[in-house]
Structures are given as structure tokens and as C-alpha cells.
Symmetry: C2
Subunit: 338 residues, 2 copies
DNA sequence: CTGAAAGCGCTTACAG
DNA sequence: CTGAAAGCGCTTACAG
């Protein structure tokens, strides 16, 4: 299995040129005759030459790796949303000649502010952080002096580039959709203490109410997770709203099931809408009207942004907002004709 | 943001020793006085020294990276099983001082036998391949002369280490459980043309029937996916079996819903059992009896094995079989008393 | 257009 | 125990 690795020197020798010229040819840099270049490239393929990116990295001070950090809470616990984003990140990175080193930030790592191995070993040129990690841990990572782009979250007091969905606006329009369908008793399902994105969605919902001068009824605010993010048994209010805006599809799914189990029909008695357009929305009968996040767009822009920062590291704290759209399905009952 | 990186030379200079000694101290190698070593380590922390793993890699010919390849088909399309395995792989790798470069093999890459970027650039010391990729593509990857360990699949004619669940045996015991509950009309839901693991599960089911001299009824063989792996509408037989062994939890979930939609109660009219113990099994009411795969075990052993192969590359084709266990839930109706 | 020289930050073998 | 020398495989000036 141990076969000698081909180097640029080998190609150079077999052609009687210098490795400098080979390097130029292979990297498509000026300074090689067209004919010689072709010859070099041909021999390279023939010898099955593979560049030693490690040697290249040492010289250029670029590893060609992007580190991706996902908090353990988000990586599995039924929230495959970030896994899907990662998929597009990986594809976009490879298209841009970068590899991705994915690492999972466990709760312990966050708490103890452990520097990820890939950072300790200087193996990445930049960092993409997916899903909210604690303010303190993020501040720690920022001190590493590696370009960072946040995806789907940000902290006002930590000046870093971030790619976010327009949660506020999307929630505003989906709530408006309920209002336009005739609903006025509209609740919200979600714990606003949990993540910034949930806050934004809650506030978008509030905006829709405010705009129509519909009084917010606090008894219609229900939760599917506690302050630590653990799922809890949903407590329905004594008198239900006629519709609930849920902070995510899983919340909508769980609420839908809770309603069903208490004898309420969806959408016959209570309408529900979700967020994210993940499997949970189609796992429920009837399928849940939700907000589609442009995952692919987010990933693409994130990779583009981190590459920019790696190349010329000026500025930071740029906010990139991605639009979202309603996916109409059958979980909303129309109470009025239009 | 551009601060000069600290090197071993910097530490050496500040202490008036040579970088060779610093290297020995930092790598915990013999040949440094205990006192001096402590001093070096102290200064290193103080200066916030981070080893340049790239330089180290160039010299040692070890990147300290493990490449992980997951076929796109498995990475998202509702089969988060492999994503979960990856999580443990990553954690075990980091514990062993390896980083993981995760790459998704798209259908196109497989078809065109595209060498993953990380391999083209010689960025990994070994490869972990999760979930079945085509024979041809695997053969191509083997030619790269990198140690490879397969997870959850293998090809008889490609001699590579592989970690697999004992699908045959697990299916045999879960089918036996149905038989012991009084069922004799037992079907199988799954497409045996799709993956080797489905074949094994099908055959384990057959063994249980054979052992009890129960005649296999071909009309009880139903499918939830076509030969390309796309989910299809399940066609129930004219006369249903009283129980179905499903090749995975999603199949069980889909079959359960199909049965419900046709007016059959689960397990009142028809019992079902699944495989894998993923969310789908608890997403259905009643929860589905299934087979728990020891994901963590598989990941741990896979990482251990690839590390062994990286360290001393003798031998190959070792087969490591991981046990599995039944998780009893409520989707099986007992037809007899014991 | 072509290439000799230097150097990226380590580690390895060897000498003292 | 300590360190000078060589070298891993590239790329980057620079000289011709």
C-alpha cells in the first residue's frame, strides 16, 4: 500500500525542467510557455500527481479549510435544520476549493470555553458558526483572531458578520395571513427566552397584531420548551385561541398533536402555522402552513462571505438578511370570505 | 487582526534554548530535563503558543485528519441515522486528536467517480465511508491507497475493513418475537434490491420463519421505496398479514400510516415492527417496537480501526460486527398467552 | 519564458 | 540532556 508519492520535482525531472515551472503550470500562473505548460499538465495526469496541499499551506499560510462549528443542541436533537444548512455549506465550500472541518460544540466545551482542536492546531482559515452558541463562548472564539461568520444568529454586542433569515418580517407576514383569514384570537407558541430568532418571530407576530389594533392576549402565549431548550408537555390555555403562530415546525407539530389529543380538530377548531419548512410540517395531518427558510441561499452567502474575509480581512459585523416565504398548506381555516 | 503567530523559535529565543528542545517538550518526547520542560510549557501557555499542525504534518507525513464520506442519499433525505453516527465519529476523532473532514458524495460524484477534494489534496490520513456507495465508486476510492474503513455496509468482492450491525441476527430475533407473540402471517416491508443491509434483514426474517417451519408468503412482501431509493405509495396486499417486519423505522411509520388510512388499527388489526430506533418509531402512535442499533459503539470502533490502520497499515478486510437489541414498545399485539 | 535560492515551521537523526 | 543540520514539498521573490 505504500507507494512513493509523486511530487512536483518528479514531474520536473521527467521533463527536464525545474519544479518552479511545474508549480506555475499546475497553479495556472503566468510565466510558463503554453506548449510547456500543456506538456507538464499531461505528465502530471499521467503520473497521477496529487498536489501536497500541506506543503502548499505551509508556504502560503492558507490551509484551504473552513471550520464549521455546530452546537450539539442543534446538531441532532431533532433539529436537523442546521445539518441541512451544513450540507449546502459543504457543497459550496468544495466548489470554492475549500474543505470543511465540522466540529460539534458540546455543552461542556461551551461551558469550559474549550478552543476547538482545529483552532488549536491552526487548521482552518476561517470559522462558520451555525446556530446560537453562548455569548461568552463566541467572545472566546473571536479572540482566536480567525475570520468568523455567524449563521442564523448574532449578538448585538459582538461585532461579527452574520447571515440571518428575516424572522421578524416572515413572522409578521404569516401572522398577517392568519388575520386576513379572519382570525383575531391568535396565540404564539414558543419560549422567547431561548433564542434570539424566537424573539424576532414573536415580535413579528406582535407587529401584525399591533398593526391591526388586535390586543395581545398573554394567555395565548404557550411554550413547548423550557428555558434550557428541553421539550415540555404543552399546557393549553383554558380558552384556546383560534390560531397559533408556532416558533418552529416541531412546535407546531407538537401543538397539533396536543390539540388533537384534547379533542380539538386542526384546523377545524384551531389553526396552526409553523416555521422552517422541515419534515415536521408534512408529518402532521393536515400538513402545516409554514415559512420556508432559504437554506441554500444562507449557506451560499455564508461561504462567500467567509471566503471574502479570508482573502481580504477588512471590516466586519456585516449583516446579511435572507428573505423567506410562506408555504401555504391546509392547517389554517378561513373564517371569512375575501 | 493580523498578529504575528508565535512559533517554537519564539519560545526558544525567549528562553535561550533551541527549538529542537522546545519541540521535544511540547510533544512530550524524551530528551528534555524535567525542569526545562516545565519552563518551556509555561512560556508556551503564556505566549499563547499554538502548534502549526501544517508544518508538523509536512514533516511527519500525517495530516491528523480523517476524511468522512457520506452519500448524499443518506445525509439528509430523512435518514438522519448516518448524521447521528457522524456525531459520535467526530467526538471520538477529536478525543484521539484527529479532525474530521466531512464530505458529501453527490450522486453525480459517484457516477463520474470524482475523487473528493480532500483526497486530491492529500488532506486526510484515512477515510471513513458511511452508508452504501456504489461498488464502482468504492473501488475507485480504494485505488487512492488511503486506509479505508466502511461503516454499515461492505462488498464481498472489495476487501476492506468494515463495521456493521448484525442485521441478520437482529431481524431474526425481532421476527421471532412476533412469532412468539402468536403471529404466523408475517410480512416484510422493504426493497431487497436497494441495500445489502436490507437484504440481511430480509434474510433474518426468513430464518425466523424457516426455523418455525412457517411458509413464506410472497404476497406479504411489500415495498416503501423503489429500486432507486425513492419513496413510493405503499401497496397493501389484498389480504393483510397480521404483522410486518419493516426494514427501517421510516418504513414502519409509513406503513402504519397507510394501514391507518385504510381503516386498519395498529396493533389492533396489524402489528408492525421497525428497525434503527430513530425518531420515526416514536413519532407514530402507538410507538413502534424496533431494533436499537449501537450507533455510538459503531462510531467508536470505526474511529479506533481507522487509527490503527493509519498507524500500522498491515492487513485489511477485517469485519467488525456490532450487536443490536430489541426495544419493546406497543405496536405489537399479543395473539397468544405464554 | 525559465529557474536557482530562500524559506514556511516543524521533526528527525545524529553528534556532542 | 541539549542542539546544529538537514529536509518535508511547496511558493515567492528575483535574476537571467
Amino acid at each position: 500500500m505504500i507507494t512513493k508519492k509523486i511530487t512536483m520535482q518528479d514531474i520536473a525531472d521527467s521533463l527536464g525542467v525545474s519544479k518552479v515551472t511545474v508549480s506555475k503550470a499546475i497553479n495556472d500562473k503566468p510565466g510558463v510557455g503554453l506548449e510547456l505548460k500543456k506538456k507538464i499538465l499531461d505528465v502530471a495526469t499521467e503520473m497521477d500527481y496529487k498536489i501536497n496541499s500541506i506543503a502548499k499551506a505551509l508556504k502560503t499560510n492558507r490551509t484551504g479549510n473552513i471550520g464549521v462549528i455546530i452546537s450539539d443542541v442543534f446538531f441532532t436533537k431533532n433539529e436537523y435544520f442546521y445539518t441541512k444548512i451544513f450540507r449546502y455549506i459543504e457543497m459550496n465550500a468544495v466548489a470554492g476549493q475549500y474543505n470543511t472541518i465540522l466540529t460539534i460544540a458540546t455543552e461542556e466545551n461551551e461551558l469550559t470555553k474549550k478552543t476547538p482542536l482545529m483552532c488549536m492546531e491552526q487548521k482552518v482559515d476561517g470559522l462558520l458558526i451555525l446556530g446560537q452558541i453562548s455569548n461568552q463562548y463566541l467572545a472566546h472564539l473571536k479572540r482566536l483572531n480567525t475570520p468568523i461568520v455567524l449563521i442564523d444568529f448574532y449578538y448585538r454586542d459582538i461585532n461579527l458578520d452574520h447571515i440571518v433569515t428575516d424572522n421578524f418580517y416572515a413572522s409578521y407576514i404569516i401572522t398577517s395571513h392568519l388575520i386576513e383569514s379572519g382570525h383575531t384570537d391568535i396565540g404564539f407558541c414558543g419560549n422567547v427566552n431561548l433564542y434570539s430568532s424566537i424573539q424576532d418571530r414573536f415580535l413579528g407576530y406582535q407587529k401584525a397584531l399591533l398593526e391591526r389594533k388586535i390586543k395581545y392576549n398573554e394567555s395565548f402565549l404557550i411554550m413547548e420548551r423550557d428555558d434550557k431548550g428541553a421539550y415540555i408537555d404543552i399546557q393549553l390555555p383554558e380558552k384556546n385561541a383560534t390560531a397559533y403562530v408556532c416558533n418552529c415546525d416541531k412546535a407546531a407539530y407538537l401543538l397539533g398533536r396536543k390539540l388533537n389529543s384534547k379533542g380539538f380538530k386542526v384546523p377545524g377548531d384551531v389553526s396552526i402555522v409553523g416555521f422552517d419548512d422541515v419534515e415536521f410540517s408534512t408529518m402532521f395531518q393536515p400538513n402545516i402552513t409554514t415559512v420556508r427558510i432559504r437554506i441554500e441561499d444562507m449557506a451560499r452567502k455564508a461561504v462567500k462571505q467567509i471566503m471574502r474575509r479570508i482573502d481580504h480581512d477588512e471590516g466586519s459585523g456585516q449583516r446579511i438578511v435572507i428573505g423567506a416565504e410562506i408555504v401555504y398548506r391546509d392547517s389554517v381555516k378561513k373564517l371569512i370570505d375575501d
